[in-house]
């Protein structure tokens, strides 16, 4: 299992070398996206107001303090459950060129397929560890679609953003699927033990 420090925006080469279990620390800009802004972008057909080529996008809606028109300071930035956003990954990768999704709990077949074809990856962060995460975000450098607050699109400047764990790679591997398959295979034995066959 290798360790990498990668500067954003990411290239296809950056992402293709990653394998599940590797550790990645990001440096540079990451974009905050999630339910409401993705619904607007893809179901509402409103194009993204910001260039996401090579972007690392994190599933988040932060706690912020408003300090001026369109200006915000981080209060607490953490990560939400990714599975709700599964169907948006192909659009993010093929239409906008996103290379990495940072999230928790993983995504499903639609995302895996997009990551394989386009050259993308899923980087797992520790959910609920928002204090730790906020320490690694230096500033909020941009915000779009503030009417969706807190589900606007956010531009975060990060430093030493990791270690993140490669949990889905561009070669068709998905740790969550493996763990779930293993759990399912253990069920018969557990049922036997507790008289629930």
């Amino acid at each position: 299992m290798a360790e990498y420090t990668l500067k954003t925006p990411l290239t296809e080469e950056d992402v293709r070398k990653l394998r599940v279990g590797d550790k990645v620390t990001l440096e540079g800009v990451i974009f905050g996206i999630r339910d409401a802004n993705l619904i607007r972008m893809f179901d509402g057909q409103v194009p993204s107001p910001v260039d996401l080529t090579g972007a690392a996008c994190i599933h988040t809606a932060p706690n912020v303090r408003k300090v001026g028109e369109g200006k915000y300071e981080p209060v607490c930035i953490g990560t939400t459950t990714s599975s709700r956003m599964d169907r948006f990954t192909p659009g993010l990768m093929f239409e906008y060129g996103v290379r990495a999704v940072i999230g928790k709990a993983g995504m499903m077949e639609a995302s895996m397929e997009a990551m394989k074809k386009h050259g993308g990856c899923y980087l797992a962060i520790v959910g609920g560890a928002a204090a730790w995460e906020t320490e690694r975000i230096m500033s909020i450098d941009g915000v779009w679609w503030e009417d969706l607050m807190p589900e606007a699109i956010w531009k975060f400047q990060t430093k030493n953003f990791g270690p993140l764990i490669v949990a889905m790679d561009s070669h068709g591997n998905n740790i969550y699927f493996d763990v779930k398959a293993k759990a399912a295979s253990k069920l018969p034995e557990i049922f036997k033990k507790i008289g629930a066959e």
Binding site: T81, G106, A129, A131, A167, V179, L187, I190
Partner: protein, 300 residues
């Protein structure tokens, strides 16, 4: 014993406390939860799992030292209110004070308002709206205090709620299978493991889910149901859930749950309901006990 009317200042104290408890719950994890995560870290064998748990411990430290929120999800605010039967209290004023405290925490800290209307998705930006915060009232016999337990309920765990109206012929076997199959196949990584699995058994459909919620969010980690049969069931389910190997953040490992808690009620002769409500590893809660004159104590 004569009943005690609460003073006017009591309601002001309730408002302040409902504000303070929301922020405290978001920043200061209860000692039993800290201990459980530490124990999980010590016992974990998976390298990735250990790394995840070490980040969780580091996160608790950063929240303490830098006065930060543990998790960004400010949740749906829930207030569990227990009112002693020896008090004379105006419930309308009590509820107004709770709602105002919740709103002030959001605006004054500031906190992310995570509450929206269900269809138009309108956000009042104060963590409240029609029927929210969620407030539960109970009356306690032979008691002259008001106890308020504040729980910010995150969505990663709340979205993983399940109810099954099993039938009597499915028996305890059906209950066990439903719980373990649901954790293995549906819940898995989603609610930030190692989590608390709250199980409701019996009652009506609504009561069953309320029992599951009570089990998931109100009890200290390590507590057991006072009924020996239910305590044994909790232990069996705790062992079984951890044998699934889902592990910290669902990346594999020994520590999937820090607790499996069960609450139950009698049910109908035709029914055998079971509900699951989850609580994520930052099992946040803060509690205050208030006297009629506004004196109070704060804890977990």
């Amino acid at each position: 014993m004569s009943k005690k009317p609460v003073l006017d200042s009591f309601y002001e104290v309730v408002e302040e406390l409902c504000k303070e408890l929301y922020v405290k719950a978001l920043k200061d994890l209860p000692p039993d939860v800290r201990e459980a995560i530490k124990k999980a870290y010590e016992s974990e064998q998976s390298e990735t799992g250990k790394q995840v748990l070490s980040t969780m411990l580091e996160n608790i430290g950063v929240a303490d030292n830098r006065n930060r929120l543990i998790c960004q999800d400010t949740g749906i605010p829930i207030y569990f209110v227990k009112v002693g039967n020896q008090l004379i209290i105006d419930f309308v004023r009590l509820e107004e004070a709770i709602i105002k405290g919740c709103q002030r925490a959001t605006v004054e800290h500031p906190l992310r308002s995570s509450v929206v209307s269900p269809f138009k998705r309108e956000n009042n930006q104060n963590s409240s709206g029609y029927r929210i915060p969620s407030i539960h009232y109970d009356v306690v016999q032979n008691n002259d205090k008001v106890e308020i337990l504040m729980v910010p309920k995150g969505s990663g765990s709340e979205n993983m709620s399940f109810l099954k109206m099993l039938i009597p012929a499915e028996g305890v076997r059906g209950v066990k299978r439903f719980i373990l199959e649901t954790v293995a196949q549906n819940i898995a990584a989603n609610p930030c493991p190692p989590y608390v699995v709250g199980i409701g058994i019996g009652g009506t459909a609504d009561m069953c889910m309320k029992l599951a919620k009570t089990a998931a969010v109100t009890r200290p980690i390590g507590s057991r149901n006072p009924d020996p049969e239910m305590a044994a069931f909790e232990e069996e389910m705790f062992r079984s859930v951890n044998e699934l190997g889902i592990g910290p953040m669902g990346l594999g490992g020994l520590n999937t749950a820090i607790a499996v808690n069960v609450e139950y009620a009698y049910t109908h002769i035709t029914q055998n309901p079971v509900a699951i409500n989850m609580q994520c590893w930052p099992a946040r809660r803060a509690r205050a006990t208030i006297s009629e004159d506004g004196q109070y104590q704060i804890g977990y």
